[in-house]
């Protein structure tokens, strides 16, 4: 429980900082310097981490046992689970990135009548998938504050998201799904004893951060209103590099903006980098062609070999004297 406490305290401090900054009227810091700084840290940090990973050599193909590799023509190949070429790899990566196929394989273990019983456990996969897809929807919907005129696809996405037209303004389904999924994933770490045992502060923290960010956004949309014209003026100011310092959009907006900036800074420093990392998963993005191509290890030391030809050159006279057959006279 100590780890949970640490991350709750961290998030509470993060909630108070923007309130303090707004009270001290540091609006240029809060609405201009901080967003630019956070975005810079995010972009450069992300690239830095990827470049760091790319310096690790990947000499061999890691084959996995989940599918039959390409073999003799009469043995059926599983080209998605154990692909031998580019298209299979693209298919396997797409399944992984879009549908989290590896999580779908998740299993759970339980002691039933003093015997361990293993079974399929799909909850993590389901809530993980819901969380990520709804987050993508929310992220894309927010583009309406950044571009003018609003691109048609953004309005179409918002309309689709608010399909059921519940309430005024429309309740977005992605908001609902996101809150549900994030809460479920958070409770998973708190309630399940074994998951809580290996949960660290940095596991709870992003979930709490996302929950507070989404919460402040939903409060702004459905309860205390904010001036969207000012919000859009601020956001379009950032992206046209002519930022407008906005004062007093509201404490919830300060919190929302500050938490998003925290998330951007936290991103390259933490396990959230799995966004880039998933593309570099060696067991997913390497074709299983070990038996078709020779993969050379780049750090193999050059071995000095003594071939038979060289050996014969060295001892030809002695071999002839001893009556041994030689290949060249």
């Amino acid at each position: 429980m100590k780890n949970l406490g640490i991350s709750i305290i961290a998030v509470v401090i993060l909630l108070m900082l923007p309130i303090g900054a707004a009270a001290a009227e540091w609006y240029s810091l809060l609405t201009v310097a901080l967003p630019y700084g956070a975005l810079t840290v995010f972009l450069l940090g992300f690239i830095y981490r990827v470049l760091l990973w790319a310096q690790s050599p990947v000499p061999f193909r890691i084959t996995t046992t989940c599918g039959q590799e390409k073999s003799l023509p009469w043995i059926r190949t599983n080209s998605l689970e154990s692909p031998s070429g580019l298209f299979g790899v693209i298919g396997r990566m797409a399944l992984e990135i879009l549908l989290f196929r590896s999580l779908f394989r998740n299993t759970g273990a339980e002691i039933l009548e003093k015997r361990p019983v293993y079974g399929s456990a799909k909850w993590l996969w389901l809530f993980g998938l819901l969380l990520h897809w709804s987050l993508l929807f929310i992220l894309l919907r927010h583009l309406r504050f950044f571009v003018e005129p609003i691109a048609p696809f953004i309005n179409a996405l918002s309309a689709f998201d608010g399909l059921f037209e519940t309430g005024v303004p429309t309740l977005y389904l992605s908001d609902l799904v996101f809150l549900t999924a994030a809460t479920a994933l958070f409770l998973r770490r708190v309630v399940l004893v074994r998951v809580r045992y290996f949960s660290l502060p940095q596991d709870y923290f992003p979930l709490l951060l996302l929950l507070c960010t989404a919460g402040s956004g939903i409060l702004m949309r459905h309860f205390t209103k904010v001036n969207l014209i000012k919000v859009k003026e601020l956001a379009t100011g950032w992206v046209s590099f002519s930022p407008v310092i906005q004062e007093g959009i509201g404490p919830l907006f300060s919190i929302h903006l500050f938490l998003v900036c925290t998330l951007l800074v936290w991103f390259p420093l933490s396990k959230l980098m799995h966004m880039g990392g998933i593309f570099l998963s060696p067991t997913r993005n390497l074709a299983n062609d070990n038996r078709m191509r020779r993969h050379l290890n780049p750090w193999d030391a050059p071995v000095r070999v003594h071939t038979y030809e060289e050996y014969e050159d060295e001892f030809r006279d002695k071999m002839k004297t001893a009556g041994l057959p030689v290949e060249r006279e």
């Binding site: 995010f42 972009l43 992300f46 690239i47 990827v50 470049l51 790319a54 310096q55 690790s56 050599p57 990947v58 583009l143 309406r144 504050f145 950044f146 571009v147 003018e148 005129p149 609003i150 691109a151 953004i154 309005n155 918002s158 309309a159 037209e165 005024v168 303004p169 429309t170 209103k225 001036n227 969207l228 014209i229 919000v231 859009k232 003026e233 956001a235 379009t236 100011g237 992206v239 046209s240 590099f241 002519s242 880039g276 593309f279 780049p298």
Partner: protein, 133 residues
Amino acid sequence: MKLYNGGKIIAGIVVFLIAATFPFWYGRGKAVRPPDLKLDTPVIQQLKEKLCVEPAPYMRANHMKLLTVWRDAAVREGNRSYTAINGRVYTISLTSTCLECHSNKKQFCDRCHNYAGAKPACWNCHIIPEEVR
């Protein structure tokens, strides 16, 4: 710095940068002015005292809340009269009270609402007088 599969890594980073900076290049760096509203409809020009149902700053911040209250009062409670803070009484009606003065929906409502991408479902039920005419 030795990169393995450098071509693919660089290509991936370029795609990431293009996607992550979408709002920066989509607007081509042009600053956007917030919309200005037209308040010069014939009815408003004839008003002696240019006052909305409530004072303008209040309306700017809370018109959506007021309209929801009006909707509930008219549709659910059958109450069609609203007493403003200054004591004036108004008939609760979007089409014949709000739009009587603000008959220029395109230059009034739509300017901000299109700008902010806020699309409440008012016009699913309500008619727009200028379109009917």
